[in-house]
Symmetry: C2
Subunit: 175 residues, 2 copies
Amino acid sequence: MQKTRFSDAPCPVARALDRVGEWWSILILRDAFQGLSRFDEFQQSLGMSPTLLARRLKDLVAHGILYKERYQTRPARYHYLLTERGNDFLPVLAALSQWGNNHLTDGDVCALLVDGRNDRPIQVQLVNRDTQQPVPPQFITLAPGPAASDGIHQRAELMRQRRLADLPEFTKEPS
Amino acid sequence: MQKTRFSDAPCPVARALDRVGEWWSILILRDAFQGLSRFDEFQQSLGMSPTLLARRLKDLVAHGILYKERYQTRPARYHYLLTERGNDFLPVLAALSQWGNNHLTDGDVCALLVDGRNDRPIQVQLVNRDTQQPVPPQFITLAPGPAASDGIHQRAELMRQRRLADLPEFTKEPS
DNA sequence: CAGTATCCTGTCCGATACTG
DNA sequence: CAGTATCGGACAGGATACTG
């Protein structure tokens, strides 16, 4: 809305960051997935100023990630709910949460992904779209698509060769 | 390093954002996964000022996501490679990329996830960790872990009930 | 309850210039 | 090539007060 730094970038990652790149936006979405919907619920949970919260909510609504709905007429009460686009954001949150839990906590895990039907833990995984078979991360490349520039194509090809040829290089740790 | 806004937050998402919350950090990682490693490669690809790039690289190294290595002695040449922690970040990038491609492009897909062994497209999926079976997103809840507060537990339980009881609510689109 | 209106500050970031 | 030094602007974000 007010900022358009990467909104016209061809890269989907950059475009995504243009929509949800602000810290608070992602934390708001996290809370939305945990069931929060009202203005004051977000404010209390996140401890942010109403001004900024209003700004972030407005942006998320403008980008079609949340939508605002009046759920009560007298007095008027609103809540913010996830659109389909917003719901589709869950895997990002899941991946972020999984990474955070694996690498950034000291054993005090505080948020887990579970299947609400049976409380089984969930894991993010990368799978072959056709076969549904899991693919080890070291084989995956962020390949450029049709809209990418030539330079990117060359880089990507080089990277793929490297990863396939010399896998140990990519699992090596700093000395 | 210089900022510690959420570094002590119990939520893994918040902690993750504390490490890679800056726009450029994620874009640097994206490029790292595409094979870039040298300072000037990043700079040229991202078009950012050397000052800022140095700062971001330093942060990523400090957080153990990249590591700096001299690959040539005379003259000294360095490159930045992904640590294991950095490599584990791929699912996040994948999820972000998938979301961006599905929702934020006008058909001009520019980056795809593929299995480098056979060029098959990759998809991010949420699966049951034990059975490896895919779980539909609407059943997934971001449940609080042991370290979460009571309030969060209550919210989460409420959310789970809502999602399980009234699924249509969560797939509804704005009028 | 659900925000808006202001004011202020930190810092993210850009641009340019310079060094081993 | 691989950065550091410095300056300045824009804006995210904080704090407080106020309204329907």
